[in-house]
Amino acid sequence: MKVTGGIGNNGDSGNLMEGMDFPDYEDVSALESLSSGDQSPFVEDSDSHSNLMLDEFSSSKRAMEPNDVSDSESSDSDSSADHDVHHSFLSIRSMHDTAEVHSKEDSSPSKTEVQPQPCNAEDFATWQRIIRVDAVRANEEWIAYSTPQAGVVSDGRAHCSAQAVGLKDYDHLEPSRIFHAARLVAILEAYALYDPEIGYCQGMSDLLSPIITVMTEDHEAFWCFVGFMRKARHNFRLDEVGIRRQLNIISKIIKHKDSHLYRHLEKLQAEDCFFVYRMVVVLFRRELTFEQTLCLWEVMWADQVAIRAGIGKSAWSRIRQRAPPTDDLLLYAIAASVLQRRKQITEKYSSMDEILRECNNMAGHLDVWKLLDDAHDLVVTLHDKI
């Protein structure tokens, strides 16, 4: 895609690709940008924008040693989610370093740290195959919300884009859905190259779909996705550390808020809250409608921005009625959705299976504003204790 080509200006592009050890490498469809066709009215605008980003990239790159970058990329903790924006641009460089490690086939201890073992379990070809399958079966809820330009895609353009990324079995789809699927493939493959420790995991297409619906340019959507994934990538780690940490927080919220419900969960051996697994992994995307999802995510991101801007608890302590910004608003919202069903859970359900089913069937039964109100109430009363 265009961004990758742009890096060539810094003299890196060639190396970046040579070093890669992916079996199906020549077939990497992400190298083509689909959105920047002649039809797009935004080409000029976006070009200047991407140049701007690349300028940032090259200047910040000069400021850092490559080794530092590798260390930060392989960081294990969730705190790496708070990386400076420049880090994410830079880590394309660290990916390059990582790929070299592979091609040399040596395993000096320091280098194996860069690329932990589990990520070899699935290779790029596997991710590529799953991405293509998932893109074709992405749900079509987004169509009503797409911009007019994205809504009208000619048959020819759709098929052209599909061929460019090697999409299969898409003949039954409308042109706009084919085009959407092709964009999903291009960006997800680019991401898998960009962040090979995570690569591709099912659920990531759920997270990307809303972004490409509101952004017509692939390269912009890609970097937005990168920003989104800085936190969300921990949901897709093979060791499930990110997921377990979050489930643990939800469990704590429930325990502090409603000890009766918590005791019931303990009795059913469900206090680990695995029944909300899906909500955590794809950030409520499956339970909320498209519009509700955008609502929740934007409120969530606003909180995270407020924290990064230094508007922390101290400023809020003076306005006691309101909830301070939190990095974990999603988890409070998930806990709120469970607490809203406390009556059914404690009185009717006698196994974790039943709770899981209740949670998986929440789709279409949630009021996102009520959910956010409840979540904020929980934040007000519990943020000091969690």
């Binding site: 992405a138 697994y277 899981l356 039964h365």
Partner: protein, 215 residues
């Protein structure tokens, strides 16, 4: 919503079995389940983690409650999905007849998962080749399927979630076989009874707590 049907069905079955669907992502596990439950054959978004559906049916004169667990196929979810093998009486290993890798992965990966995590020695396995509606793209022959099934000691069927060909047979044959195994039959009937008992206890508890509230 879901709860009322659950209460109804739990009081109206003789046997209850847990069945698990496993196999690579995109082979059609969720489609197979949906095709069996509701005749729907749309594209389905990838499964995240696990989900399950309940179907009550009559097989061999017995009223059965099948709890069918659908799992995510991708490796990243395997730590989670492996914990759902516990207590399963039947396991359906699904592959896509148009993709050879999904077939070889059954013996290389999934059969080993079953050995590792399945707590039930007598558990009945069934090998299912899905997507036979795409005959022209077939990459795994029926004979190969039969051979692997023999090797794994499992039942075998080819089906199409899309046309619903052989879909019901797949679940029926599996349950019939489960019912032939005394230990599994025993599990199925006790878990049914236990369920009803718990339901009754629960109802008592609720009425008790209600009355204590009122007084």
């Amino acid at each position: 919503m879901g709860s009322s049907t659950a209460t109804q069905s739990s009081s109206s079955y003789d046997l209850s079995f847990k069945i698990l669907l496993i196999g690579d992502s995109g082979v059609g596990k969720s489609s197979l389940l949906l095709s069996f439950i509701s005749n729907a054959v749309d594209d389905i978004t990838p499964t995240i983690g696990v989900d399950f559906k309940i179907k009550t049916l009559t097989v061999g004169g017995k009223r059965l409650k099948l709890t069918i667990w659908d799992t995510a196929g991708q490796e990243k979810f395997r730590t989670l999905t492996s914990s759902y093998f516990r207590g399963a009486q039947g396991i359906i290993l699904v592959y896509d007849v148009t993709r050879r890798d999904t077939f070889t992965n059954l013996s290389d990966v999934w059969a080993k998962e079953v050995e590792l995590y399945c707590t039930n020695e007598d558990c009945v396995k069934m090998l299912v080749g899905n997507k036979v509606d795409r005959e022209s793209e077939r990459a795994v022959s029926r004979e190969e399927g039969v051979a692997l099934a023999k090797e794994l000691g499992s039942l075998f069927l080819e089906c199409s979630a899309k046309t619903r060909a052989n879909v019901e047979q797949c679940f029926e044959e599996l349950t019939l076989k489960i019912m032939e195994v005394p230990s599994l039959l025993e599990e199925g009937s006790t878990s049914g009874k236990k369920n009803i008992l718990i339901q009754k206890q629960q109802q008592q508890q609720t009425t008790q707590s209600l009355s204590s509230c009122c007084s």
